[in-house]
């Protein structure tokens, strides 16, 4: 039987982190993410975990990575400007293969932008924010219950892939209250990092196993090794050997990419017979879903495709979708970011329409409906870049 509890998005994220086994949090307050920190400050000491409010986001990211190497499931949460500050150390986590979860409750930008209002403007920063080549998984929930599911999933994949994972929320999801069926989280599947099976003398912290992921020993457990953000060999020691460097970067990307099918998670709503598709994520997908229902009432065959795993992007699934429908509409709370991914994956098979907003307001269902009606009636022929 379902056990419903009313929960606040950001608090749900913190509670799920504890369920996932998170025992280390380092953060710096920023709207609209601060409630994650506040809840963690309350919950972590109760389970023997560490909470620390650091002096800034750069420090928080570094501290969380330190905690991860010392054996704790580790997390930090932030929003726009803080996410920007974390980027260098996020790159470090990629390179040093530190399992860590970064929650980004998006607000509007650039800069301090719109602190208390919704935005989805960090889609590209999530993937391309830190310099260098990499593939960082990013999960994007659209309800409070899903915040919990995705938080747990983020920890699981961070640990298994030895990589940073971003939980990309938005202000509306972080700040809304919804009921959550807590029976789902009674005994969820929890994955942990691979520990070395060899004695310390034989341990190589950066020698990949079959799945491209090296086993990770915790600092303090007798397995002494070196960690650096520089290109390194299997021991972790810096190297400029071209073959070693190439191999390393390729592996860091490959270890995520090869699990892309398992990482992929989407919701498909009324897509079976759809002639038109809306591709939307996060809070915008909530509006889109209602728009689909309203359009169906008017006899327009439209469906919703909602990526939950934003990165790696569901390339093949989007390609197949584009081959099936007459047109795709991508509404998002930015000036056109995810639409670029959709366009890339669709490979020109159907027209792709955008709907963009960056003023801190939601895109409402009736607006999406209007747009779908226009598209379905053939009123807009050439895809336009502005709503």
């Amino acid at each position: 039987m379902a056990k419903l509890e009313l929960k606040y998005g950001n608090h749900a994220c913190a509670e799920a982190a504890i369920i996932a086994g998170c025992r280390f949090y380092a953060g710096y307050p920023i709207t609209p993410s601060s409630e994650v920190a506040e809840k963690m400050a309350e919950l972590l000491p109760k389970v023997g975990g560490v909470f620390i409010q650091m002096e800034d986001e750069i420090a928080s990211m570094g501290c969380a990575i330190g905690g991860a190497f010392a054996g704790r499931k580790s997390m930090t949460a932030t929003s726009g400007p803080g996410f920007s500050l974390k980027q260098e150390n996020i790159g470090y986590a990629v390179m040093s293969e530190a399992p860590v979860v970064i929650v980004n409750v998006q607000r509007g930008g650039p800069s301090t932008g719109l602190p208390t209002q919704v935005g989805q403007q960090d889609v590209m920063q999530t993937q391309w924010g830190t310099h260098g080549d990499k593939l960082i998984p990013a999960f994007c929930p659209a309800s409070v219950e899903e915040v919990m599911e995705e938080t747990i999933r983020a920890f699981n994949w961070a640990e298994v892939l030895r990589t940073p994972v971003v939980l990309l929320m938005d202000e509306v999801i972080g700040h809304m209250k919804e009921s959550v069926d807590m029976t789902k989280f009674k005994d969820p599947e929890i994955w942990n990092r691979k520990k070395p099976k060899v004695p310390p003398e034989e341990y190589l912290a950066y020698k990949p196993e079959e799945d491209d992921v090296p086993a990770l020993a915790d600092f303090g457990d007798g397995y002494r090794y070196h960690v650096t953000g520089l290109m390194h060999d299997y021991t972790g020691f810096p190297t400029t050997n071209p073959a070693m460097c190439q191999e390393l970067v390729e592996r860091l990307i490959r270890k995520v990419k090869r699990r892309a099918k398992e990482l992929e998670k989407n919701e498909e709503f009324m897509l079976e017979d759809a002639e038109f598709a809306i591709v939307a994520f996060g809070s915008t997908a909530r509006s889109a879903k209602l728009a689909v229902k309203l359009a169906r009432e008017k006899g327009i065959k439209v469906g919703l495709f909602r990526p939950i795993t934003l990165w790696p992007s569901p390339e093949e699934t989007l390609y197949r979708l584009a081959g099936k429908v007459k047109a795709i509409l991508v509404p998002e709370l930015n000036m056109g970011q995810y639409v670029l991914e959709v366009e890339r994956c669709a490979k020109g098979q159907c027209p792709i329409f955008r709907m963009n907003r960056a003023n801190g307001q939601m895109i409402y269902p009736f607006e999406i409906l209007e747009k779908i009606e226009e598209i379905a009636s053939g009123k807009i022929v050439i895809p336009v870049s502005k709503a």
């Binding site: 280390f24 380092a26 000491p45 109760k46 389970v47 023997g48 975990g49 560490v50 620390i52 650091m54 002096e55 800034d56 750069i58 420090a59 928080s60 990211m61 570094g62 501290c63 969380a64 990575i65 330190g66 905690g67 991860a68 190497f69 010392a70 054996g71 704790r72 580790s74 260098e88 150390n89 470090y92 915790d218 600092f219 303090g220 007798g222 002494r224 090794y225 070196h226 960690v227 650096t228 953000g229 520089l230 020691f237 810096p238």
Partner: protein, 286 residues
């Protein structure tokens, strides 16, 4: 020069027990001839040996710079992080594993320029980390640019007409920010440095040991000082604290005191305080 390949490790350790803290197989190191960094590493290793701390109980963390390459040669849990951020990472390690001895090796640029904010806050928290701040008055790794500790009038690649910026007194900065153990040593006075590191590690709280160490290449070349000149400068311009205190005010300015400059035992260590809160909360929950 050390020829690692020729000496069997057990033999080397037999002769010099502190060698057990070195990753001999990663030698030769990258530092320039005459650079003081090796002396500091040696002092850390001897101090650990004297204290009887096992490799398996030490984590060494650094940022970026020549001095920050130290952990690579140290056989412990070593973390070479991003520029300026060593203390943030080290705080994470220490909080997650308070039983570890955590040592940070950092440069004047790393710690007091880009890492200045983390530095003052680590001092304020009084977390039990021992910081060896290699102060060579310059950015060594990037080719000799001015640093927050470059003396007035000194030359650097970004001060071709002489440095016109005022500089930090690292010890004063640390004391002001709340560090409970502050000391100064040099790469010339290694025996003394060993004692300072020992005392710093023993101190349960934030320990800062500023080590004046010559960057023979970048600073030396720019300021027309040879390797010997630089070590002689350290010898002649630094004096033990007791002697320094006896000097008349006007003479103090030209000399730097060495030794433990500040030692306070009146503040609780951070991880200790944190875990006592945890204990209370968990106890209260039963």
């Amino acid at each position: 020069m050390l020829q690692p390949i020729d000496i069997p490790l057990e033999k080397a350790i037999e002769k010099k027990p502190y060698f057990k803290y070195l990753r001999i197989d990663k030698m030769p190191h990258i530092w320039c001839p005459g650079c003081g960094n090796g002396q500091v590493l040696k002092a850390i290793c001897i101090a650990l040996d004297k204290l009887g701390i096992d490799n398996n109980n030490v984590s060494m963390v650094s940022g970026i710079g020549c001095s920050s390459r130290t952990p690579g040669y140290f056989d412990g849990y070593t973390l070479h992080t991003t520029h300026g951020r060593a203390l943030a990472f080290a705080t994470g390690v220490k909080l997650a594993r308070p039983e570890l001895t955590v040592i940070v090796t950092t440069g004047d640029g790393d710690c007091t320029a880009i890492g200045g904010n983390h530095f003052i806050h680590a001092c304020r928290r009084n977390i039990d980390i021992t910081v060896l701040l290699f102060n060579n008055w310059i950015y060594g790794m990037t080719g000799g640019q001015v640093s927050p500790t470059t003396p007035k009038g000194s030359y650097a690649t970004t001060t071709p007409y002489g440095n016109y910026e005022p500089n930090f007194s690292i010890a004063d900065l640390a004391i002001g920010a709340g560090a409970t153990f502050v000391a100064r040593g040099t790469a010339y006075h290694v025996t003394e440095l060993v004692n300072l590191v020992e005392a710093g590690i023993k101190h349960k709280g934030f320990s800062l040991i500023e080590v004046l160490t010559p960057c023979t290449i970048q600073y030396g070349r720019k300021n027309k000082m040879g390797i010997v000149d630089m070590y002689m400068w350290l010898k002649e311009n630094t004096i033990p604290l007791k002697a320094w205190e006896k000097l008349p005010e006007e003479k103090r300015k030209s000399k730097l005191p060495r030794g433990i400059l500040h030692h306070a035992d009146n503040r609780e260590e951070y991880t200790h305080r944190y875990y006592s809160v945890v204990e209370k909360v968990m106890g209260g929950n039963k």
